[in-house]
Symmetry: C2
Subunit: 302 residues, 2 copies
Amino acid sequence: MKTVNDEMGRMAEEITERIRRFLPSQKGYQKTVAEAMTYSVLNGGKRVRPILMLLTYRAFGGPAAEETSLLDPFLAAIEMIHSYSLVHDDLPAMDNDRFRRGKLTTHAKYGHAMGILAGDGLLNKAFETALCAEETEHTRGRVIPALRILAEKAGVYGMVGGQSVDVEKTGEPMSADELDFVYRLKTGALLEASMQVGAVLAGAAPEAVKEMGEIAMRVGLAFQIQDDILDIAGTTESLGKSVGSDEKNNKTTYVTLYGMRASKEAVENLSDEALTMLAKYPGGMRGKPLAELIASLVGRTV
Amino acid sequence: MKTVNDEMGRMAEEITERIRRFLPSQKGYQKTVAEAMTYSVLNGGKRVRPILMLLTYRAFGGPAAEETSLLDPFLAAIEMIHSYSLVHDDLPAMDNDRFRRGKLTTHAKYGHAMGILAGDGLLNKAFETALCAEETEHTRGRVIPALRILAEKAGVYGMVGGQSVDVEKTGEPMSADELDFVYRLKTGALLEASMQVGAVLAGAAPEAVKEMGEIAMRVGLAFQIQDDILDIAGTTESLGKSVGSDEKNNKTTYVTLYGMRASKEAVENLSDEALTMLAKYPGGMRGKPLAELIASLVGRTV
């Protein structure tokens, strides 16, 4: 039997192929930075954000004929933004990580300065790429609204804002409100952008676009809280990092604030809400790819 | 008598006021990064790029009524991109500068991690801001082409690409071709974007937009070579940096490659060419603001 994870693995491979053509050519004097950018994007990853975008686009009946010209540039763009954020997060001045998914991080392989520039290049390339999206008569007027969502959710009122508070609070306890802010912006915002951009490009109504953002935010929070739970309850093998590392680092997590039981309940409530909200939409019912993906992200079955 | 420099000083102040409203509000949990972003943009600077964009827009008859809604977001965007590039250039892993224009650099004031994030936030904010530009019936279809120019010239085939080669070649001699590449991309590309975006938003013909890029490239090269000349011939006071620092750092410059006399001739030829090309356009004649600005940038009078 094919599981959701098999299917996600297959889709991750498909997405990787689809975004590969937007990566910079490794020619000319700037080939090192182009290579570092490509390395950063192709350095593994589950492609959760572009898969979420693609399935939302399809759930809202986005035209199959325009997936290549309209949607693919945005699939690449959201993954480039996610990749740049990891490259800069891994820098010595930030988390100082030399390995990610068993491979050298970008700055560990190409040097510190090149790590900064590869990240800058990827963020810039994300917009450069999404700006190549082509509208037809049928999809006129969708690119700029999609770009605005992408820019807003990635920026100081989105991911960068969340990251900045996380950095500022390193080694200090966080309040419940601060932790909620960091989870919503650092992880949630790009998931929101993924679903909202997919919906906008497919021509979904504004109300539906808004609700996709609310669903994505719940998925992001549930995902993050589950990570906190696994840090304590999981095994090193399945997590790929040392269990209990949050506790060792004296880090505020959902579990340290509310306890294990309340954390598990929160994951359950958030994912129930997300799936209930989704159920009234075309991709939201049992067996539909978008609902299955979302359920699998928060560790549930539908 | 009012000099060109007085006029540029006045315009720099005007531009600063016009771009101020696009800077992030310093409220909420992310106020530190928002403050660091604002500090980086308001930390002095001659606003050469937005002034160049504004004067090109006006030279091509861009509608005055749309300066606020159509042009201003791009004036802010190009300055944010320039500012982010300085913030990241100044980082310890890059040039490691603690002062710029007599003030603490962003990372020196806000910490290394916040310097990285403020730069990321500014690059993202540049696109977020330019995406707010509003078209009217009269200017329909100009925003996306202008955004594409901005993204291309700032990215791996533009400024980031030039910067990456400069970084890679630190402490090593550069060939004439490499130096040309760095000068064209690291400095020239954003000047190109400035003039081209101004022309596109004003509705200039494609041929004129192309030629504005060629003019800007010559201005950028002349400007850069003049910097090399001044590093040897200038005084510390007028430059604000130690004279002869290039030589001390064993840096390849136009002067080390071709000698002082050929360098002075190159500046003269490039600026003659730029002014001759400009002369056939409406802003290109004696006494016209765009021609005067360009002449002053390359140290000539018209």
